[in-house]
């Protein structure tokens, strides 16, 4: 089979090694006055959840644009040309949708393809979203999960942060209880001695 193409999907790099990931985490840590130890660990995990929200949102958009590209790609195209064409559509559509101006060649390439399928930009996007409802639901659930994670981490952060104050408060309560009991015992003693 003659198929020697290399598609240019985003590279397989672990996000945690990406410089922008590290910058993002540092930025969040700074906004929390750079805590260390357990609190630092919790803030790093919160930053991670925020990172995923951003990543999912960006990739969700890419998924819709890729779906749009696949919809205008001709069914008769096969092999290397088809994939290259789809990736070129993807680039053009992504740029057009994000408001960037396309050069005349790309614009004509895109317009021809959309016209041949009876679409304009809005109808193509609507069709792509309609056909990706299930996938988009999964992505939305993933985003929602990250917000829940953030809330849970925030609660853990508050618990650990305020643990010394709680400890002091509890210590005070215990001391008050002890004093109360001591007073009762003293009162009992006095009662007994009076009798």
């Amino acid at each position: 089979m003659a198929d020697h193409k290399e598609i240019k999907l985003p590279q397989s790099v672990s996000y945690s090694n990406l410089p922008e990931y590290k910058d993002h985490v540092d930025q969040i840590l700074n906004s929390y006055d750079s805590p260390e130890g357990v609190l630092g660990e919790l803030v790093r995990q919160m930053a991670d959840a925020m990172w995923w929200v951003k990543t999912y949102q960006k990739d969700k958009d890419h998924l819709i644009v890729m779906k749009m590209a696949m919809l205008i790609k001709s069914r008769s195209d096969l092999g290397m040309d088809a994939e290259e064409k789809a990736l070129r559509f993807f680039d053009c559509l992504l740029n057009a949708w994000s408001g960037q101006e396309l050069d005349s060649e790309d614009q004509a390439f895109l317009d021809d393809a959309m016209r041949s399928k009876g679409h304009n930009m809005a109808s193509l996007r609507a069709d792509a979203v309609r056909r990706s409802v299930k996938e988009l639901e999964v992505i939305d659930r993933l985003i929602e999960r990250q917000f829940k994670n953030m809330r849970l981490l925030m609660q853990s952060y508050e618990s650990v942060r305020f643990a010394p104050q709680l400890l002091k408060k509890m210590d005070l309560e215990i001391r008050q209880l002890e004093q109360g009991i001591e007073k009762t015992i003293e009162d009992q003693r006095r009662e007994v001695s009076r009798q």
């Binding site: 089979m1 198929d3 020697h4 193409k5 290399e6 598609i7 999907l9 985003p10 590279q11 397989s12 672990s14 996000y15 945690s16 130890g37 357990v38 660990e41 919790l42 995990q45 991670d48 995923w52 990543t55 999912y56 990739d59 890419h62 998924l63 890729m66 779906k67 590209a69 696949m70 096969l78 092999g79 088809a82 994939e83 789809a86 990736l87 993807f90 990706s132 996938e135 999964v138 992505i139 659930r141 993933l142 999960r145 829940k148 994670n149 849970l152 981490l153 609660q155 853990s156 618990s159 650990v160 305020f162 643990a163 010394p164 709680l166 400890l167 509890m170």
Partner: protein
């Protein structure tokens, strides 16, 4: 470069001839073949899993910190375990969010091309029935379509994360519960 249908079929046919692992070491290795990320199986207790402590050395100092904050030894230990599990989940998520490599994809082709490839590979003495051949062709073509749907390929990494959601939920709920200051 993507794998060809011939290579895929030949690999699978050769795999059928294997007698499986023979040595103890091989058996031990293959016993972990089905292990995907270990989040559901492994205990995250650092004392029960010393390599993890090696991987996250700072967690030991966290326990001292928590004890100094007023948590009991037992609760500090519990919080550390939960922190460790949450971090493991995060690491698995990062490594799972990847695009499939081109080597793991079949090339784009029509159903007729799949049929002709299957025919080419067939032994003249083969006893494969037309029904069986149709099934193989249908399966291969389904895979061809899946491997060449670029939006589907983009979705695969989301799907990997969807499978990890229950572990995330459990890890962060546990962390919150365990870090509540107990009277």
């Amino acid at each position: 470069m993507k794998i060809s249908v011939e290579k895929l079929v030949a690999n699978r046919a050769n795999a059928q001839k294997s007698y499986g692992p023979q040595t103890r070491a091989g058996k031990l290795r293959s016993s972990k073949n089905a292990l995907k990320h270990g989040l559901g199986a492994r205990s995250s207790n650092p004392s029960q899993n010393p390599p993890l402590l090696k991987h996250f050395p700072e967690l030991e100092s966290y326990q001292q910190e928590l004890t100094a904050l007023g948590y009991s030894d037992a609760q500090s230990q519990e919080i550390i375990e939960a922190l460790l599990t949450a971090r493991q989940v995060a690491e698995v998520k990062h490594s799972a969010y990847k695009d499939r490599l081109n080597e793991d994809r079949l090339g784009d082709m029509t159903p007729e091309a799949v049929i002709s490839f299957v025919r080419e590979m067939e032994d003249p003495l083969s006893t494969v029935t037309p029904m069986e051949r149709t099934k193989v062709v249908a399966l291969l073509f389904k895979q061809v379509q899946k491997d060449n749907d670029l939006s589907g390929l983009l979705f695969e990494k989301f799907e990997a994360h969807r499978k990890l959601m229950r572990y995330e939920q459990r890890a962060f709920n546990q962390l919150r519960k365990r870090s509540l200051f107990k009277k």
